[in-house]
């Protein structure tokens, strides 16, 4: 992503165009908004015209100031001015409504899309940066649309209208003004190229600073335990200082760049006076157009109107670039095809009743990595309870992810109830197949709300009954506020093992036909685990259960054990029969397990 950011100039238009295409509500009614903007800018040239008219036909009228005429001119102008103010207001409000409404849609759409991405993509992107996609990135676009965007739009209008009025007065002086600003156009382009680089530096510096600060907060315990406060402070200070420097550098260049406008305006003003007076007095009426004091004065006012837009545009450059960068990051996410896609209505629902599982020559490799599963074939009949065991890195978690279609195999096919998983509708799949991941993530809510996450219709009583059936009524009763106990951010008010208990209850009440447990009780104490195992055996009777197990106690009770070693299935069968071969992978795993757990 940083690669594309560096070339921000290139493809910026493309990004803008695609960004606009993403938000159709932004374009709805745009012609009216632009028309209002044009009328609004007319208000700006009203004053110079009134000054010219007032000077030439009123104040400097032949025979002394003609006040009646002046009042006429001023009243008409004032009335028109009020109309233009109303138009500007109207345009602003329309822009706010259009931009906020369309961006709210983009925000929600992107949020949804991120949830649709596979776990693979969700992990590849840092969590924090995913959050930015739906918050700060879009805020930057909105800031730009409402502030910089309006400014740019109005500026273009203002330059056009001003030029038209100038031309009506004198094409020679118009040329003089344009020539005065010509060098600036080149200078601004050079500055913008440099600025693009510096603004990219700023973004990098901000990212590094945030990462350093985040580390000091998340790692608070370690920092205290090892007394490395000063070292951490030093690391943070470096990034804060780098951030300060980079921001000042880019601002300095921006200031220098924008002053070309001010100087060009002065050159234009001086040239208009000199050329105007010389032509008006000496020449043949300004080469066909009579130059009067009023017209020359009007030009001086018009030059001010001419330079304002240029100033503004250079001031909003940073906003424009931030917006483009933000928009591009949002587009990048939107462009990421969910590689694990819901077939939707084209798909089929899973058949009723318990599900059988079938892996047909399934291989899997993470992008750019070696194969972690190699042509795995197996079948699990419906209602079986199967344990998958193997050492860390053997591929057993990958197997669980393929089974629940969190990822798709690189080769081969997974079938549930006879249907290829890729053809099963997600609403059916997620309802019938539930996985309990090792990391029992909880939402910052009560225990009860977390349990009914997948089944919001459950009452407190039903949740309580679920805990009771799992044999966890005692544990629940010991919580400070029972079901209403708040679990804190990510469930951190509970211990790791307790979080797993809630996560298990959450999966249990979802009432799936295929339950996949990925080391779901790894942090629970042995007594509770064994008890859970027994109750799970009863409550899951009649369903298919696949348990990925680190502790072999799970395997001992299973109908069948599948042993995974280096991406292949090396053994399968009931616990007892697998032990028969003393040299087998399972026998060795079991021996070391026994050694660890045997009490006597």
């Amino acid at each position: 992503m940083s690669g594309t950011e560096a070339g921000a100039g290139h493809g910026a238009w493309n990004t803008l165009r695609r960004g606009l295409a993403l938000s159709p509500r932004l374009r709805r009614g745009l012609p009216v908004t632009v028309a209002l903007g044009l009328v609004g800018t007319l208000g700006k040239v009203l004053v110079p015209v009134a000054v010219q008219q007032g000077l030439d036909h009123g104040l400097r009228a032949a025979g002394g100031p003609d006040l009646h005429r002046v009042v006429q001119i001023v009243s008409v102008t004032a009335a028109m001015l009020v109309v233009t103010v109303i138009c500007q207001y109207w345009m602003n409000v329309r822009l706010y409504i259009a931009s906020e409404s369309s961006l709210a849609d983009v925000r929600t759409g992107t949020f949804r899309h991120i949830h649709d991405l596979s776990t693979l993509h969700q992990q590849a992107q840092r969590r924090g940066s995913l959050v930015s996609r739906v918050t700060t990135d879009i805020d930057q676009v909105s800031q730009f649309l409402q502030h910089g965007g309006v400014a740019v739009l109005l500026s273009v209008c203002q330059v056009l209208v001003t030029t038209a009025v100038m031309l009506a007065y004198s094409w020679v002086l118009t040329l003089v003004v344009y020539l005065s600003f010509a060098p600036m156009v080149f200078a601004v382009r050079w500055f913008q190229r440099r600025l693009t680089v510096l603004y990219a530096d700023v973004r990098v510096a901000v990212g590094a600073m945030l990462a350093a600060i985040a580390e000091s907060v998340v790692g608070a315990t370690v920092i205290r335990a090892y007394g490395i406060r000063d070292r951490t402070a030093g690391r943070i200070d470096e990034t804060i200082e780098a951030n300060r420097r980079s921001r000042y550098r880019s601002q300095r260049l921006a200031v220098f760049g924008s002053q070309f406008g001010e100087l060009s305006a002065a050159v234009a003003t001086a040239s208009v006076v000199v050329v105007g007076v010389l032509l008006g007095v000496g020449g043949p009426g300004g080469l066909g157009q009579p130059l009067t004091v009023g017209r020359i004065t009007a030009f001086l006012f018009l030059v001010v109107l001419f330079v304002q837009p240029v100033q503004l545009v250079s001031e909003v450059m940073n906003e424009v670039q931030n917006a483009i960068a933000g928009w591009r990051r949002v587009l990048d996410i939107q462009d990421t095809e969910p590689d694990v896609a819901d077939p939707g209505f084209a798909g089929v629902p899973l058949p009723e009743g318990p599900l059988d599982v079938r892996f047909d020559a399934v291989s899997f490799a993470y992008p750019g990595g070696p194969e972690v599963l190699s042509t795995v074939d197996f079948q699990i009949p419906a209602r079986q309870r199967v344990a998958v065991v193997g050492e860390t890195g053997s591929g057993k978690t990958t197997l669980a992810k393929l089974l629940t279609r969190l990822m798709d195999p690189t080769q081969g096919e997974v079938r549930l109830g006879g249907h290829p998983l890729t053809g099963v509708r997600f609403d059916s799949l997620r309802q019938r197949v539930v996985m309990v991941p090792q990391d029992g993530f909880l939402f910052d809510a009560t225990v009860a709300d977390n349990v009914r996450f997948g089944r919001p219709d459950l009452t407190d009583e039903q949740v309580r009954a679920a805990f009771a059936r799992l044999g966890l009524a005692d544990w629940l009763a010991a919580l400070p506020a029972g079901l209403a106990t708040r679990v804190g951010e990510r469930g951190e008010a509970l211990s790791v093992g307790e979080r797993q208990l809630v996560a298990l209850a959450r999966a249990y009440v979802a009432d799936p036909d295929l339950l996949v447990l990925d080391e779901a009780t790894s942090a629970v104490d042995p007594a509770t685990e064994v008890r859970l195992q027994r109750t799970l055996d009863t409550v899951t009777r009649g369903r298919t259960t696949v348990a990925i197990a680190h502790r072999l106690s799970t395997a001992e009770g299973a109908d069948e054990v599948i042993v995974v070693d280096r991406g292949r299935i090396v053994q399968r069968g009931p616990h007892a029969s697998l032990l028969a071969d003393a040299d087998s992978v399972y026998a060795k795993l079991y021996a070391s397990w026994l050694e660890q757990t045997r009490s006597a």
Partner: protein, 579 residues
């Protein structure tokens, strides 16, 4: 309403007097030159153009002088802009850096108990967005001060020209100022609400993406999207309400000076007819009103930003004012070998919560290993935190070699104790950096020997740059078991007097774990180990059995097995299951 915001500005001036002066001087120069430019234009028109047209002869000298004056004023104006914007920028960025340092310093000094009560996201936004919001008004600050100077200069100059024309200015300027104040009043509550909603949108996204796996596996994407959309739509409505006010402000502020210019034409005509002023005066004053409009809006922007700044500062100062950091003593350990760790009648509870540990007493003799065993949620990890003084007990003492931990100096404490937590934390650094953490006296030899003890030397040697390999944010390139072994090596490298292992090898394969335990045993340090596994417990000289925050029994594994039913049930659970 503006009071708190103005106090933040006052603080900024106190903190950065030099840059503030620089910016205001530049801004004042800009202001005076802006007023001057109007009179130069007026003079050029009235004194050069009008006579030239009247006489049909160009006064070349006057014309050249006029052009030179226009350029000179413009150059001085540019100098003023440099001073103003560079001064303001430097001031703003310096303040941001200064308070980011202060805020992060508090993060490092406040105790773990404080951190537990504050969400990571909030702390990050305190150090980033809130600091930024506090000093955001600094950018237009010198400009706004300059605009005030400009208004004064304009009024003075107007009186020098003609007192009647000055009255037009006297009517207009307070009106401009009043509109600015009105605007900031109207916008402040709306902006505050939008800020609040923005934080809520971010919080929902944060939590939802953190729990993405759960959302996905339970098929709750639609419900989560609805939850998010609700917040996002509230934000949209709040922003539109901000837009209605802001959308009114700009055109009105633009239009008022124009109306002033028109009034000048009428009043100027009256005065010209009375012979009080000339054309050049009318041109000067109407031009003045035209160039004045823009700087005056700076006042509005400054006032409009103040409430947000005050709100940001309020959150920043809450961090700066937070107390509760631990006081450390001055005592040092004598000697460096294994220490004696003792808990004496220790009670503890999390702030605002009930007591979770009750009267805990036990001892880990020097060079011995004690296992802490108990069911899920019995308070084992809390004891671990107390043992290395991440938190202080409510009652009772934790001591090392007979010294209360609270009397030890901070560096002495961190050298004497080491905790390997359940969930490993790895820094975005090299393997070497993660093991040494910059502590003195830990060279590559010590790093490797610690890695060997932790059974981590094998995988580290296989990394592309060995101990020099960067492991990524939170050690993202390592597996869970590897991260655990790395943090274990970190603890061992300091050769601590007491080592506390909080279920620190849960993600490590059984065979590797056995090897780790063997090497720990042969190293002969004082170890408090929180564990369930029989093999780990077997390593212990003594077992402390915990239930619901109380020490229920102490003794050897065999003794407890024979006499404590709860303990027996826990450790023989697997045997029972096998039976």
């Amino acid at each position: 309403m503006l009071g708190p915001g103005l106090r933040v500005l006052a603080r900024a001036v106190r903190d950065e007097p030099a840059m503030f002066t620089f910016g205001v001087l530049g801004s004042a120069l800009f202001a005076v030159m802006t007023v001057a430019s109007a009179y130069v234009v007026g003079a050029v028109v009235g004194r050069v153009a009008v006579p030239s047209f009247a006489a049909h002869h160009v006064a070349a000298g006057g014309l050249a002088l006029g052009a030179a004056a226009i350029l000179a004023v413009a150059i001085l104006k540019v100098v003023g802009i440099f001073g103003r914007r560079l001064g303001a920028g430097r001031m703003q960025f310096n303040l941001e850096a200064r308070y980011r340092r202060q805020v992060t310093r508090r993060y490092l000094d406040l105790p773990v108990a404080w951190h537990q009560k504050h969400a990571t996201g909030t702390l990050l936004s305190n150090a980033n967005a809130d600091v930024e919001a506090s000093w955001y008004p600094i950018a237009p600050f010198p400009f706004a001060v300059g605009a005030l100077v400009m208004l004064v200069a304009a009024v003075v100059s107007l009186f020098l020209v003609d007192w009647v024309l000055a009255l037009v200015g006297l009517a207009l300027f307070p009106l401009l100022f009043g509109v600015n104040v009105l605007f900031s009043r109207a916008i402040a509550p709306r902006v505050a609400r939008a800020q609040q909603l923005r934080a809520e949108v971010s919080a929902v996204a944060h939590e939802s993406f953190d729990g993405a796996l759960v959302v996905k596996t339970m098929g709750r994407e639609e419900a989560e999207t609805r939850r998010f959309a609700e917040r996002s739509e509230a934000l949209r409505d709040a922003m539109i309400s901000v837009g209605r006010v802001r959308g009114m402000f700009d055109p009105v502020l633009d239009g008022l000076p124009s109306l002033g210019t028109l009034a000048v034409l009428v009043v100027g005509g009256l005065r010209m007819r009375a012979g009080a002023i000339g054309v050049s005066d009318v041109v000067s004053v109407s031009f003045l009103f035209t160039v004045l409009g823009f700087p005056v809006t700076a006042i509005g922007y400054l006032l409009g930003e103040l409430p947000r700044s005050a709100a940001g500062w309020e959150r920043v100062s809450r961090v700066l004012g937070a107390t509760g950091e631990m006081d450390y003593g001055a005592a040092h350990r004598t000697g460096t070998g294994p220490a004696v760790l003792r808990f004496d009648g220790v009670s503890y509870g999390y702030e605002g919560g009930p007591e979770v540990l009750h009267d805990v007493t036990f001892e880990v003799p020097a060079g011995r290993t004690v296992a802490l065993v108990g069911p899920t949620g019995s308070g084992k990890s809390t004891i671990g935190s107390l043992a290395v003084r991440l938190v202080d007990p409510w009652a009772g003492t934790v001591s090392l070699d007979g010294r209360d931990l609270r009397t030890l100096a901070a560096d002495a404490l961190s050298r004497a104790t080491a905790l390997v937590p359940q969930i490993p934390f790895v820094f975005d650094d090299t393997v070497r950096g993660n093991v040494t953490l910059g502590r003195h006296g830990i060279g590559d030899a010590e790093v490797w020997s610690a890695l060997r003890l932790a059974q981590a030397d094998g995988f580290v040697a296989a990394l592309p740059e060995s101990v020099g390999t960067h492991v990524g944010e939170r050690g993202a390139t390592l597996s869970g078991g590897q991260r655990q072994r790395l943090t274990l090596a970190r603890a061992l490298a300091g050769n601590p007097g007491v080592l506390v292992l909080d279920d620190a090898t849960s993600a490590v394969d059984p065979r590797v774990e056995a090897a780790i335990l063997d090497s720990l045993r042969s190293a002969g340090g004082t170890v408090l180990v929180i564990a369930y596994r029989r093999a780990t417990i077997a390593l212990a000289d003594e077992v402390v059995y915990l239930e619901q925050g109380r020490v229920l029994a102490r003794g050897t594994h065999a003794e407890l097995l024979a006499t404590v039913p709860g303990y027996a049930a826990l450790v023989t659970a697997y045997d029972e299951a096998r039976a």
